[in-house]
């Protein structure tokens, strides 16, 4: 080997070594943690359940997993899916979207035989609902003066064996994509929601008072219920006040099943706003009248006679918070010391100002002791914050504007696949980076994250996947 060739080979070795070092030292999202952490269990201690609510949890779990049809259940005429658990499945029943998207198999099957699968629904992509921020004009263009923001259901009962003569067109998804008039939402996980429901407003307000003493430029506000003015707390924009309301809305909007809270079949936003409504032959497809889901008249024992939305609410209410767990990174267990350091860093750089590890303690529960006087480690302040132009979806809900979102609770994050409100990210680093943008409250915290060493950033990622 001549000298020049030797030097070139040495340089190549050095370069590849440098590259390898860079790759190994760069921070990495440990990814979805697959170990069974026991997520999905009930918060109720059967030995301390004086009112017998364990039976309600179990009955609710069954209803939550029921696959709905038109006949007998009232599915449709428009819907996004046919079972609560089809969307709320990862890592256990009650969670967020799973790795395999059930919506991808609906079109052309017996579920939605005449429909086509929208391009944003993929086999292994996020389970989604779609919304058009603005209505279309009669000439097909976007009407910027007419905000929409309602859910545009993906599928119809057209052609189903139990769909009668109902024949509906799917909304103009491709046209909406062409003009960027479409946004998406993914399912929120429901673990631990009974604790969140049982937080008194005064607890949240005290926490807000503490949060305001921050040097990160973070403000925040609460979304409030239009009926009684109290703090609402469920949904991506904290638009829903209670679990019963959350259940009733989802049953009606996502599955098209009318119930005691939302008593009519739901047309698309435009069909409703412009008075067209649903065609007559798409109404009352069950033949039972409205609401389609009512208290089961002949059931026994008592936990089986309640209506479905009460059953869903009970299931979510009594789901335990997702347990924390160990983290595997590149096949190796992350040390407890690193996770602990990550937790401290997460707080020190300001993430915990909004993603508060412990927002407070629940009030006394009239249901089960497990919901009483319990610290809520949800990693959220349940406030809505301006998230800026990168995450803005231009959908207003209650007091939340197009760029405001509820601080997403981070408990259970270690086993989440799809991240952010629309599932655009699967990597924690991408999700973190999306927190900085024009008009966002989290930009200064993001700058602090960038000022950490690679090792420190890795510790934060490890910590987040321990949740």
């Amino acid at each position: 080997m001549n000298k020049a060739k030797f030097l070139r080979s040495q340089a190549a070795i050095c370069l590849s070594g440098l590259l390898l070092t860079t790759i190994l030292s760069a921070q990495t999202d440990p990814g979805v943690q697959s170990a069974n952490r026991g997520t999905g269990a009930t918060i109720i201690n059967p030995a301390n359940d004086p009112n017998g609510f364990t039976a309600f949890f179990n009955a609710g779990s069954g209803q939550f997993q029921e696959v709905e049809a038109v006949a007998g259940n009232g599915l449709g005429p428009r819907f996004n899916s046919n079972s609560c658990s089809s969307c709320h499945l990862q890592p256990a029943v009650g969670g967020s979207g799973a790795a395999v998207n059930p919506q991808f198999r609906f079109a052309g099957s017996s579920v939605a035989p005449r429909d086509t699968t929208p391009s944003f629904i993929t086999a292994n992509g996020p389970t989604r609902e779609a919304r058009f921020p603005f209505f279309f004009n009669p000439d097909g263009s976007v009407n910027f003066n007419s905000p929409n923001g309602g859910v545009e259901d993906l599928f119809t009962v057209t052609g189903r064996s139990d769909g009668g003569a109902c024949s509906l067109a799917q909304p103009s998804f491709q046209a909406a994509i062409n003009v960027n008039n479409i946004i998406f939402r993914i399912p929120t996980p429901t673990f631990g929601l009974g604790l969140i429901e049982n937080l008194d407003d005064s607890t949240l307000l005290r926490n807000q008072q503490v949060n305001l003493n921050n040097n990160f430029g973070i403000g925040g506000a609460f979304n409030r219920n239009g009926n009684d003015g109290t703090i609402s707390r469920f949904g991506w924009k904290a638009q829903n006040k209670s679990l019963l309301l959350f259940s009733g809305e989802a049953y009606n909007v996502e599955m098209g099943i009318s119930n005691f809270i939302f008593t009519q079949d739901r047309p698309l936003p435009g069909e409703d706003t412009f008075g067209t409504g649903l065609p007559t032959n798409c109404l009352n497809l069950t033949g039972t009248g409205y609401p389609e889901n009512v208290t089961h008249p002949n059931g026994s024992p008592s936990s089986a006679v309640i209506d479905d939305i009460s059953a869903f609410a009970n299931f979510m209410r009594f789901l335990a918070p997702p347990p924390t767990g160990g983290v595997i990174l590149n096949g190796q267990a992350v040390s407890a010391a690193n996770i602990s350091a990550g937790a401290s860093l997460f707080s020190a750089i300001g993430c915990a100002t909004c993603h508060n590890p412990t927002v407070g303690t629940t009030q006394v529960s009239n249901l089960v002791p497990a919901l009483s006087n319990t610290a809520v480690h949800a990693f959220s302040d349940f406030e809505i914050h301006h998230m800026g132009s990168t995450l803005a979806d231009n959908v207003s809900q209650g007091g939340a504007g197009g760029d405001q979102f509820r601080t997403a609770p981070l408990w259970g994050l270690g086993q989440r696949i799809f991240l952010l409100h629309d599932g655009r990210a699967t990597n924690l680093l991408d999700a973190i980076e999306a927190h900085e943008s024009n008009g966002g409250e989290a930009t200064n915290v993001e700058l602090n994250f960038n000022n950490l060493s690679t090792t420190q950033q890795q510790q934060i990622l490890d910590f987040l996947r321990s949740l």
Partner: protein
Amino acid sequence: MRFTYSVVLALGLALSAAAQDAGQQAIPKSGGDFSNVTVPLVKVPEGVILVKGAWASASDSVTPVPEGASVNNEAFSAPYFGMTYQLPSGWTQKYQGPPPSETGRYVLAQLSPAATSNGTARGSILIAAQDMFFTPLPAHNASELIHYMSEHLQADYQPESPPAEARIAGRDFTVFAYWSPVAELHWYVLATEIRCHTVQFVLSSRDTKLLEALVRSIDKMTPSAEASPTGGAVGGPVPVCIANYARDENMTFRTEPVFTERRSNAIPVRIVIDKEGNVKHIHFLSAFPDQSKAITDALSQWRFKPHQRNGERVEVETGVLFGRQPAVGPAQD
């Protein structure tokens, strides 16, 4: 060959007819949820917040407002506060801050070394302001706010130097430093009072020498003499600011806004009262459009007694909180 073609054609036509018989309703007319236009018309712009909730606005576009700060040509400028700050070399603002909060918090600038900067400095400068008329924290001025902060420092941090008064850029500042041992990040907070706002420079870095250099760069600022803690001098263009001035003893007529929608948000409003006692400028820190209109209609009817300083009539700037009142009263008189 011809036979085969005919069969295929007939089969195709039959399938087509069957599909139409059993198919969906005719494609709906354009409008609402449907658009038959296949060629993109005007797209919804990406990265633009078009649908706003409660937001800041003002009755005119000429009078400077606190959030009207900007970074241009490596200089930070905040006309309302009479401040101009020359950024350190290579520093810039990548993203603008959020709108003012309903508790009167402003992010005026978020500065950091540009990604293209050749320097190795890593740190950030947050320039923020707190409207002292609307803070729910128990503080009346910059000094009290910084002392409150130091006394309620979270467990993540340790103080490095207690709050102290200092003279920076020819102004009175309260300076406080703390750090996070785990993050090895240091924070220097420099706060001064301008027009009844606490204006803060929050400097953060692992490198304390960088922080000291940043303090020196701030010391080179030349704030306007009008930007005093309580507003302008008599005869100047800046009104004096007085907390809780919209009280009965200062007014000759007041009517309350009639809101057409029931909402539950706080609506902090700053107003400027001219020398005759009329409301000449309205600044909504955070309000829905229908709320702004209702409040504007009411404020246009308000009349104040002319305010005098040293025997001369002066303009007054004050704050009024409509809507939801805070759980803890704002720090006023």
